[in-house]
């Protein structure tokens, strides 16, 4: 019987990710979509640790570990080095966390996308510096408690909204940009298939819930990923060669359902949840606006 996603597994079992790790599923799905002719570059992050210590590897494709800020440049060099040898059919994939993408690696990402290399940059977004013990990143959403935005006597949870790198990539006119999440692997894999048809830089931001850093029980990973879309906390879209498609086919739920499922938001009072609700509405309207602008442009 055919399965809804490819059967081929290029990520082995036996890795050392936490129970119920969403970032691991992101890699599993990405490699299913990419296939075996793929080289992956991973900076400092959970994913630099998930494969285990030397001499272990958990991917059945070459995986290059790089310094934290080096993802964008390393995929540039991999692409060009392979092309020089005629290996133009290899997929070159940067696979970096949100810290490695939204913060320390942003310049390298932007540079690599601007230079037009034929590469994929996958940002697995667990909304914080998880490998170093759950610190805030630019991609952490408003309201979240992290170890550097703690809630003690003072309510020092993160007060700033999430920096959305995919939006920045659209602003930079990267030929393929999409958001995805692990509850919808068929959607993610379809997006990668679309991206493969685009020659040039491709950027996909995958929301990857993290039980350890979002403080929820590990069996809820898929549920929370689904709620992120349904609550519109993490809208799914696709921007392909100047056209913008927003995914609206889901059963909407209130933001509070998403928030209440995770202890990183436990401290939020009704007013604060309302702030998130407003933010979500505003962003949704903005995305609807984009859909209009980009479709008009292309008519």
């Amino acid at each position: 019987m055919p399965t809804s996603i490819p059967k081929e597994e290029l990520m082995a079992p036996g890795h050392t990710a936490c129970h119920g790790c969403g970032a691991t599923l992101a890699m599993r799905y990405v490699l299913k979509a990419m296939g075996q002719k793929t080289v992956v570059s991973v900076p400092a992050s959970c994913w630099a640790v998930i494969p285990g210590a030397m001499p272990f590897r958990t991917l059945d494709v070459p995986m290059v570990y790089t310094p934290f800020a080096a993802t964008g440049a390393s995929i540039s060099g991999l692409r060009e080095g392979l092309d020089i040898q005629g290996k133009t059919d290899y997929n070159v994939v940067g696979f970096a966390g949100d810290g490695g993408t939204a913060d320390i690696g942003l310049q390298g990402l932007s540079g690599a996308m601007e230079r037009g290399h034929n590469v994929f940059y996958i940002m697995y977004d667990n909304e914080g510096y998880m490998n170093t013990g759950v610190q805030r990143s630019g991609s952490t959403p408003y309201g979240a408690k992290t170890t550097t935005t703690p809630v003690g006597k003072e309510r020092d949870f993160k007060k700033e909204n999430k920096k959305i790198v995919a939006d920045m990539m659209i602003a930079q006119n990267v030929p393929y940009v999409a958001t995805a999440t692990i509850a919808y692997p068929e959607d993610l894999i379809r997006k990668i298939d679309h991206a493969k048809a685009v020659h040039g830089p491709k950027f996909i931001q995958i929301l990857a819930p993290c039980p350890t850093g979002w403080y929820y029980p590990p069996e809820k990973t898929i549920e929370i990923s689904r709620l992120a879309v349904q609550s519109r906390m993490f809208p799914l879209y696709e921007f392909i060669q100047g056209k913008f498609y927003l995914n609206k086919s889901f059963k909407p739920v209130d933001v509070s359902e998403y928030v209440k499922a995770q202890d990183r938001f436990k401290h939020l009072n009704d007013d604060e949840i309302d702030n998130l609700r407003k933010y979500v509405d505003e962003r949704w309207n903005q995305l609807l606006e984009w859909e209009k602008i980009y479709s008009e442009q292309k008519e």
Partner: protein
């Protein structure tokens, strides 16, 4: 005999270095502009644009990215090259370790320039001395010809299966980089004979998927990996000598191995210098010899691996030595001086002094070297800053 098409021309150090990279058949180049390095990669870009060089040139958005891109392309198995200076080199610091730790035989040109603040674009070796412990071999040239040939020899040495460490090849800012000198362009066929194509044994191969870098634990092989780099740095001493000799024979040159000696055979006193300061020192040696002082010069070519054995041999019969450094090491004496005294310690007991010269491009004059020689002759030991003004 084969017909050899070498020809002599006049060019700047940076152009010579670019021709060195071309002769070495580099396939991938990535860099970021910084004075006084920029004209190297401009030259290479124009060679590519004019079909003189079959390589890919990518200008990235920072030096960290330049070395990250070169790291990655080299790992796919293509000979890769970059060049930088000063702040660009400091910006690469993390990647320098990453390249050597992954055992990638990349060659990089560095035009030695001062580190700010205040901004200063002139000759000063503090930038590369700062990178002493990054696992890269370091060569300091004295002429444009040497700068060109060192790129070629550099790849041959770095890619040796016993070495597999990256190499930095230095030129002093402006004194070499932007000054024209006669240079012999080597015959490409002969270079091809000397330097075969890169054959990176562990290059990226989807048929043999591996993790490159990964992480390791205290009980794993981390310590052994680092020790192996030190061992390879030691083995490089022999390889450098052999490969330099081979080059000398093929191209009728006479480069020293790790050091170059001038009038040292019967010398009582020795000056030790690195880079273009050695040219001035050589002139002063001749001048003082005429006056009857038995003085000689040791020019350090390789700072890493450091020529400990050569130095011991050369200073065996010397009464006193002066070590000239064009770099600042805050808190102690000159960097080369520190190496020399540690080489001598417990074996040769002579007065050695440290001279700091030419910081931020300050001119190193004949009279400065004469003063240094004078101090050495008095068999004193100490740390001296030469040609500094009294400002406070």
């Amino acid at each position: 005999m084969k017909s050899v098409t070498e020809f002599k021309t006049i060019m700047t150090g940076n152009d010579a270095v670019a021709y060195g990279a071309k002769l070495a058949r580099v396939k991938f180049i990535s860099a970021y502009p910084i004075t006084p390095q920029t004209t190297i990669v401009e030259k290479l870009a124009s060679m590519i644009a004019n079909d003189e060089l079959d390589a890919k040139y990518v200008e990235v958005e920072s030096e960290h990215s330049a070395l990250a891109a070169v790291f990655a392309s080299e790992l796919t198995g293509v000979r890769s090259y970059t060049a930088t200076s000063s702040h660009g080199l400091l910006y690469m610091h993390e990647m320098l370790h990453w390249v050597s730790g992954q055992r990638l035989p990349i060659v990089m040109s560095v035009v030695n320039r001062a580190i700010g603040p205040p901004w200063n674009i002139w000759a000063d070796q503090s930038d590369t001395i700062n990178q002493r412990d990054t696992g890269w071999m370091q060569v300091y040239s004295e002429s444009n010809q040497e700068a060109m040939d060192t790129i070629i020899m550099g790849y041959k040495i770095a890619e040796n299966s016993e070495v597999m460490l990256p190499l930095m090849s230095m030129e002093d800012a402006f004194i070499l980089s932007h000054t024209s000198e006669p240079v012999t362009l080597r015959d490409q066929d002969l270079i091809n004979e000397y330097l075969p194509d890169l054959d990176l044994k562990f290059r990226i191969d989807i048929g043999n998927p591996m993790g490159y870098g990964s992480y390791d634990t205290p009980d794993g092989t981390f310590m052994e990996l680092k020790k192996d780099m030190v061992d390879s740095m030691k083995k490089a001493v022999r390889v450098i000598k052999d490969e330099t000799e081979k080059f000398n024979q093929m191209f009728d040159t006479n480069y020293g191995g790790l050091v170059e000696r001038y009038r040292m055979d019967d010398a009582d006193y020795a000056l030790i210098a690195m880079g273009t300061v050695a040219s001035t020192a050589r002139f002063v040696v001749d001048k003082l010899r005429e006056k009857g002082l038995n003085i000689g010069l040791i020019r350090i070519r390789y700072f890493r691996p450091f020529p400990y054995d050569d130095i011991l041999e050369d200073l065996k019969n010397i009464k006193a030595a002066g070590v000239i450094d064009r770099s600042v090491s805050f808190g102690y004496a000159g960097a080369t001086y520190s190496e020399i005294v540690s080489a001598l310690y417990g074996k040769i007991n002579i007065p050695v002094s440290s001279f700091i010269v030419g910081i931020g491009g300050r001119d190193v004059r004949i009279e400065d070297i004469e003063k240094i020689a004078d101090t050495v002759r008095n068999e004193s030991s100490g740390v001296y800053w030469i040609n500094v003004k009294k400002v406070i």
